[in-house]
């Protein structure tokens, strides 16, 4: 018995993803291309949920729909020059490129078709040791315990783009008042900010706490909090500054410092790097995740603002 409704859903999802990706790439109007990309991100979130990856779906919904959209639309606004209206197709060999598209897609499809069955089931290893990890959500156990080394390095990698943006902006400072003033006068904006900001902070805190036993964790919580921060930035509650504040820098590196400190700290009683004692693993993971949430939220928020620092704005 074939489950037709699930095939119909999967089919529509697949066709929707491919269609939105195609429209993103070929739209003559760049503004439309960005909007298609935001819709594509939401379809991806749906796809992750469908593929039983709720942790990924939560992060994608916050980042794909929120942060990426804000970044791309801001870049579009800065670049809003005649160059954007120019005809999009610039290739001299569109036929050859289309052939390449077909060839790459065909070759990948063939590989996927002939893929041998998995030889190593990491899932079983994770499930077998989950009780020792200190948390019951397997994705959090992998991120913060079993593969903690990857996440530790990732916390460092996350700071690199921000340092890159700072270096670029130091050479030719961007105008700081890049957010258009005047759109924030509406009472609707004030009401929205007053309603949404506390809810977003609450959701972020809940996602952080829930990450131990159900979908959620530092990455999802940090993304949601950064989204709330972007709203404050757009409504003139936060303002970009040319130099970073000491407290802000502390917040940016907090995740990395605490993660490193605890990773090394457990070596004091003879265990290897990053091997938490099972009795305290849950608490250690919560501390690391809290610090990571703050750092991820601030990093993403600063990337959205494009500035080095932030201060409180006038409208409160």
């Amino acid at each position: 018995m074939i489950d037709w409704s699930s095939w119909l859903f999967d089919g529509l999802l697949a066709v929707g993803l491919l269609l939105l990706a195609w429209l993103t790439v070929i739209s003559a109007d760049l503004f439309r291309a960005i909007l298609f990309f935001i819709a594509f991100g939401l379809f991806m979130a749906l796809c992750w949920a469908r593929l039983a990856a709720p942790d990924v779906a939560l992060a994608e919904a916050a980042i794909g729909a929120g942060i990426s959209g804000a970044l791309l639309l801001d870049a579009y606004r800065v670049l809003s020059a005649p160059t954007l209206a120019a005809a999009p197709a610039l290739s001299r060999l569109p036929g050859l490129l289309a052939l390449l598209l077909g060839g790459v897609t065909g070759a990948l499809s063939w590989v996927f078709w002939r893929l041998p069955p998995p030889v190593l089931a990491l899932d079983e290893l994770v499930q077998a040791r989950l009780a020792d990890s200190g948390v019951s959500n397997p994705v959090t156990a992998v991120l913060l315990n079993f593969r903690g080394y990857d996440t530790l390095l990732e916390a460092a990698v996350l700071l690199l783009p921000l340092v890159g943006v700072w270096i670029i902006n130091r050479q030719t400072p961007a105008p700081l008042e890049s957010i258009p003033v005047g759109v924030t006068d509406s009472p609707l904006v004030d009401t929205l900010v007053h309603l949404v900001t506390p809810l977003a902070v609450l959701s972020g805190a809940y996602l952080l706490w829930a990450g131990a036993h159900q979908p959620g964790g530092a990455f999802q919580a940090g993304s949601v909090l950064a989204g709330a921060g972007a709203l404050l930035l757009l409504s003139d509650r936060l303002r970009p500054t040319a130099t970073p504040q000491a407290l802000l820098i502390l917040g940016l590196i907090l995740g990395l410092v605490i993660f490193c400190g605890l990773a090394l700290g457990v070596m004091a009683d003879g265990s290897p790097l990053l091997r938490y004692p099972p009795a305290h693993a849950g608490l250690l993971i919560l501390v690391i995740e809290t610090a990571l949430t703050i750092s991820i939220a601030l990093t993403l928020l600063l990337l959205v603002s494009g500035a080095a620092g932030l201060r409180w704005g006038r409208r409160w």
């Binding site: 760049l30 992750w48 593929l51």
Partner: protein, 107 residues
């Protein structure tokens, strides 16, 4: 044909579409969009394979993609910062139309 294969084929399609966009268009903002489409194709391979033939989906690829999404958005932000900078200094987001540094100093 099973659902996993359907999503794997979709991933191959996304990767191909993204690659086409990356090579066929000169505008850097379009290239950033296209590279993101490609990245999502790669993520989809991971997540589709995580579910293959298992009772519970494999959490290791989930954790990889989760961190991958956050890194992808921050590198996108970096790329956009470079594009905006290029636009501010040369008046055009297209690297090819920017004057060489020495010419910019002369004029």
């Amino acid at each position: 044909m099973n659902p996993t294969l359907l999503f794997l084929l979709t991933a191959a399609g996304l990767f191909g579409i993204g690659l086409y966009g990356l090579l066929a268009y000169r505008h850097p903002l379009r290239q950033v969009l296209a590279a993101n489409v490609m990245a999502n194709g790669v993520f989809l391979v991971f997540i589709a394979l995580a579910r293959r033939g298992l009772a519970n989906p494999d959490p290791v690829p989930h954790a990889m993609v989760l961190t991958g999404i956050v890194i992808a958005v921050s590198t996108t932000a970096f790329a956009l910062a470079i594009i905006k900078q290029l636009h501010r200094t040369s008046g055009s987001p297209d690297p090819a139309s920017a004057p060489p540094p020495s010419a910019a100093v002369d004029s």
